[in-house]
């Protein structure tokens, strides 16, 4: 059974968003990709507040750490404190290679941490691996948000 998976990408840099969309568009699966550009929007999106009231819950969140308004760490913490939303796997996708950021992210319940590769090919490959792992290999909880 093939069902479209929905990915939420949270990144404040539109150029990065484009790159991520470009990378995911090249995957063999057709995924629905949504994006928001700050932490508050991300929380509103996930908790279906305001403009996002009719939003479907994503199957995967790709989250940058340094975000305006609400920091990625705070978004992660809020998400992982919610009994329902914590089921959604969150991939931290950040430029930071600082071990403090990595440790903190896992402490807050991140499902994995990937540093944004500097090289374009590696960047694409990283996102495609993420996509392949979560949607190709891993089994995800079903019936969420339907």
């Amino acid at each position: 059974m093939v069902c479209t998976q929905e990915v939420l990408i949270v990144d404040d840099n539109p150029a990065d968003l484009n790159l991520a969309q470009e990378a995911l568009a090249r995957c063999k699966r057709q995924n629905k990709i949504s994006s928001v550009t700050d932490g508050e929007q991300a929380v509103a999106f996930l908790f279906r507040r305001g403009a996002y009231i009719n939003q479907l819950r994503p199957n995967l969140v790709i989250l940058d750490l340094n975000l305006p308004k609400k920091d990625g760490r705070a978004v992660l913490e809020e998400l992982k404190s919610d009994p329902d939303l914590r089921k959604i796997p969150v991939v931290i996708f950040s430029t930071s290679q600082a071990s403090s950021d990595i440790v903190r992210s896992y402490q807050l319940g991140a499902n994995c941490y990937v540093s944004k590769p500097v090289d374009l090919k590696a960047y694409f490959a990283a996102l495609q691996s993420i996509e392949e792992f979560w949607f190709g290999l891993a089994r995800l909880p079903q019936g969420e948000g339907e």
Partner: protein, 454 residues
């Protein structure tokens, strides 16, 4: 301490303020007369009580105190305690009637600068002059020490700031650059052949430039990181590190057909990751800067005697590796051909001595309890001209064009930083066309005072 004949005895330099502790007006007048006769330019205040003394010290900062030993209400020596308590550096000379030798010595011990008998006041100017001169010297030294401490602190701060700057700059620079590099690459990918040839070339240039800047920034980041937080020192088996290094370098070893002969390596007190980086840099360089033939690389190690490591700069004499009797038997060398690793037996004698001329003037900065190991990585590559032997360790220093040998010139700078973190030193012996031998020292393992681990 003696003082020679001085002209200042007759002509003291600056006007001074003298605080006299004296109950006899005649005596204090005699003292002043003596000073005047010797040419001192001074003002004097006479006090008799502790309270007056404290007030005078606080308000008028005398340069010298001349105190009688016995006063009706007070003892001159107690003035010393006051000076100490006020934390002022003012010399005190006892000017007193008969004073037994024992008492005199006692007073000097307690901190009086000198004592002059009232019956021999002629000696007073000399004593005063000496006391003042010593005080000046003390003050100068104190100031110099203070300045030095300030400089050290400033240096440490600016060093830290610089590291922080390099880290932040390279980190923050990376972001926009990644965008430039990524999108020029995307442009190239998508529009190659659709524009004219010049456009393709320009895109290539832009991509190349951005990519190179990326590696430069990453190297800078790596360099600044190498010095930031000193990793915890633990006992690291260099044989294990070597295995990692060979694995990491497997493709270039394979490609070049490099043969690496390696001593049995010791356990040292360092960080495993950093050690891997260090050996990988040196062996990687040995492979990279090869001549046309198959690169032959040897990694050797010898124990430096503890007593050969001094705090002062010294020449480390050529030292024979002292193989303890009970462990000399099985000195193995690991030989690597291609990606294959095979162990061969080496004669202990081969390890025992280095050539007599390998001594190198180097500073051993700290003195680890168990002394140092000296490593050497030798190749038969292109070698280095004498004028570059030191400068190759500085950041972004390259001797060859990028086309000949790729790289940014950061590896040796990082290597130096790593070695120096552990109090070791790194240097190179080489001449053009004759190959190079990089040597470095690392502190021996904390829990191990013996030779190489079996």
């Amino acid at each position: 301490m003696s003082i020679g004949p001085t002209k200042t005895e007759t002509a003291p330099v600056a006007k001074i303020h003298v605080l006299q502790v004296e109950d006899n007006p005649l005596d204090s007048e005699l003292v002043q007369r003596e000073l005047r006769r010797a040419g001192f330019d001074f003002t004097a205040t006479v006090v008799q009580t502790r309270a007056d003394f404290i007030r005078e010290v606080e308000e008028h900062c005398p340069q010298i105190v001349l105190a009688d030993y016995n006063l009706p209400q007070w003892r001159g020596m107690e003035a010393l305690a006051v000076l100490e308590h006020e934390n002022v550096d003012v010399p005190l000379i006892l000017v007193t009637g008969a004073l037994g030798e024992v008492t005199a010595v006692e007073c000097l011990k307690k901190g009086a600068t000198d004592y002059v008998l009232k019956g021999a006041l002629a000696r007073l100017p000399v004593a005063v002059h000496r006391a003042l001169r010593e005080r000046t010297l003390r003050l100068q030294r104190k100031m110099a020490e203070h300045e030095l401490a300030q400089k050290v602190e400033e240096l440490a701060r600016s060093n830290k700031e610089l590291e922080q700057f390099a880290y932040v700059a390279s980190h923050d620079l990376q972001e926009p650059l990644r965008m430039v590099a990524s999108y020029t690459q995307l442009l190239g990918e998508r529009y190659k052949g659709k524009l004219d040839e010049t456009a393709d070339k320009y895109i290539d240039y832009a991509v190349e430039g951005a990519k190179r800047m990326q590696t430069l920034i990453q190297d800078l980041l790596a360099f600044s990181r190498a010095g930031r937080n000193r990793p915890a020192q633990s006992d690291v088996d260099c044989n294990v590190v070597m295995k990692d290094v060979l694995q990491n370098l497997a493709s270039s070893i394979d490609e070049s057909g490099a043969v690496i002969a390696c001593d049995d390596l010791p356990v040292v007190a360092a960080d495993r990751m950093q050690l891997t980086q260090l050996l990988q840099n040196l062996i990687g360089n040995a492979i990279k800067f090869r001549k046309d033939n198959t690169p032959l690389i040897s990694v050797k190690v010898e124990r430096l005697k503890v007593e050969s490591a001094r705090i002062e700069p010294i020449k480390i004499a050529p030292i024979k590796t002292e193989l303890a009797k009970n462990e000399s038997a099985k000195t193995e060398a690991t030989k690597v051909e291609g990606a294959r690793i095979e162990a061969t037996k080496l004669e202990p004698a081969k390890l025992e001595a280095t050539k007599p001329d390998t001594a190198k003037p180097e500073v051993v900065k700290t003195l680890p309890a168990n002394g140092f190991w000296q490593f050497s990585v030798s190749d038969e590559g292109i070698g280095i001209a004498p004028e570059h032997l030191e400068s190759i360790f500085s950041v972004f220093h390259r001797l060859n064009t990028r086309a000949e040998y790729p790289g940014n010139g950061i590896g040796l700078a990082i290597s130096k930083k790593i070695v120096e973190q552990y109090g070791g030193t790194i240097w190179v012996e080489s001449s053009p066309g004759q190959g190079s031998t990089f040597k470095f020292t690392l502190p021996a393992a904390i829990g191990q005072a013996k030779g190489a681990s079996a």
